[in-house]
Amino acid sequence: MSTHDFWSMGGYARYVWSAYGAGLLVLLWNILTPVLRRRSVLRELTEGDDGDKT
C-alpha cells in the first residue's frame, strides 16, 4: 500500500479520518481533564486551608 493510498482510504478519507480524529479528541479529553482538574482541586484546597487560618 502506497502512502497516497493510505491517506485516501479508497475514497472514504473524509469519513475514516474524521472518525479517527474524533476518537483521538475523546481519548485526549479523557486523559487530560482529570490532570487539569487535579491542579484546580489542589489549588482550591490549599487556598481553603489558608482561609481557615486567617
Partner: protein
C-alpha cells in the same frame, strides 16, 4: 479477600491505590490502542463490500462497547451507593458519568460518519441508534443531577437512582438489533464464533481492551480528585496536603 475489599473501600487507601495504578493503566492502554489502530488501519485488508470505510469499526465498536460497559459499571456502583451508602461508590457514579457520555457521543458520531457512505444518511431513527441516543441523555442526566444539587451526598443518591432506573436501557441497546428489524448490522459474535476474519478481528479486540483500560485510568484519576474535594475536612487529606 473481603477484608482487602473493606480496606480498599476506605478513601485514604483507595487514594493511594489509585495513585499507584493509574499511570500503569494509562501506559498499557495507550500501547494497546496504538497497536490496535495500526492493525486496523494498515494490517487489516479492506472489506470486500465496504472497502476502507469499514476501518471506522476500530473506533466505533470500542466506543460503543465502552458506552455499555461504563453504564453497567455505573449502575452497579449506584446499587452499592443506594443500599450500603458507601462514599466510594457515590464518587464512582459521579466520576463515571462524563466518561460514559464521551464514549457514547463518540459511538454516535463515528456511527453517523459510517452511516453516511454506507446507508446514504447520517442518521435514521432506528432502534439501535435511538436507544444509544437515549443512553447519552441518561449519562448527561446523571452529570446534570450531580452538579445541580449542592449537597454532594443528596446529589449522589439522586444521580444513583436515575442511573439505576436508566439501566433498563442497557439490554435494550444491546438486543435492539435482534428484537427490531434494524438497519444496523447484528453482533459480530454469534453462537460462540465470530463472523469476521482474524486479521480484521484482532485489532478490534486490542483497541477495545485499550479503551477499557483507558476508562480504568481516567476513572481512578477522577475518583481521586472527587475524594480530595469531598473529604477535605478529614485528617488524611490535611496530612496529604501538608506534605
Amino acid at each position: 479477600m473481603w477484608t482487602w475489599f473493606h480496606r480498599l473501600a476506605s478513601p485514604p487507601s483507595f487514594y493511594r491505590f489509585a495513585d499507584l495504578c493509574a499511570p500503569w493503566f494509562l501506559v498499557v492502554s495507550l500501547a494497546l490502542i496504538v497497536v490496535g489502530v495500526y492493525g486496523g488501519l494498515v494490517l487489516a485488508p479492506p472489506d470486500y463490500q465496504q472497502g476502507d470505510a469499514f476501518r471506522i469499526i476500530y473506533i466505533h465498536v470500542p466506543a460503543a462497547w465502552m458506552s455499555l460497559f461504563v453504564y453497567t459499571f455505573m449502575a452497579v456502583a449506584s446499587v452499592i451507593a443506594l443500599v450500603w451508602r458507601i462514599k466510594l461508590a457515590e464518587v464512582a457514579v459521579a466520576a463515571a458519568a462524563p466518561v460514559g457520555a464521551s464514549f457514547t457521543a463518540l459511538a454516535l458520531l463515528t456511527g453517523m460518519l459510517w452511516g453516511k457512505p454506507m446507508w446514504g444518511a447520517y442518521w435514521v431513527w432506528d432502534a439501535r441508534l435511538t436507544s444509544e441516543l437515549v443512553l447519552l441523555f441518561l449519562y448527561l442526566g446523571v452529570v446534570a443531577l450531580n452538579s445541580a444539587i449542592t449537597d454532594p451526598r443528596a446529589a449522589a443518591r439522586a444521580a444513583a437512582l436515575l442511573a439505576l432506573v436508566g439501566a433498563v436501557n442497557v439490554p435494550i441497546v444491546h438486543y435492539s438489533v435482534v428484537w427490531w428489524n434494524s438497519l444496523h448490522q447484528g453482533s459480530l459474535f454469534k453462537g460462540g464464533g465470530s463472523t469476521i476474519t482474524w486479521s480484521m478481528l484482532w485489532p478490534l479486540l486490542i483497541t477495545a481492551l485499550g479503551f477499557t483500560l483507558l476508562f480504568g485510568y481516567t476513572q481512578l484519576m477522577r475518583m481521586r480528585n472527587e475524594l480530595l474535594l469531598r473529604e477535605r475536612g478529614s485528617r488524611w487529606v490535611k496530612e496529604l496536603l501538608s506534605t
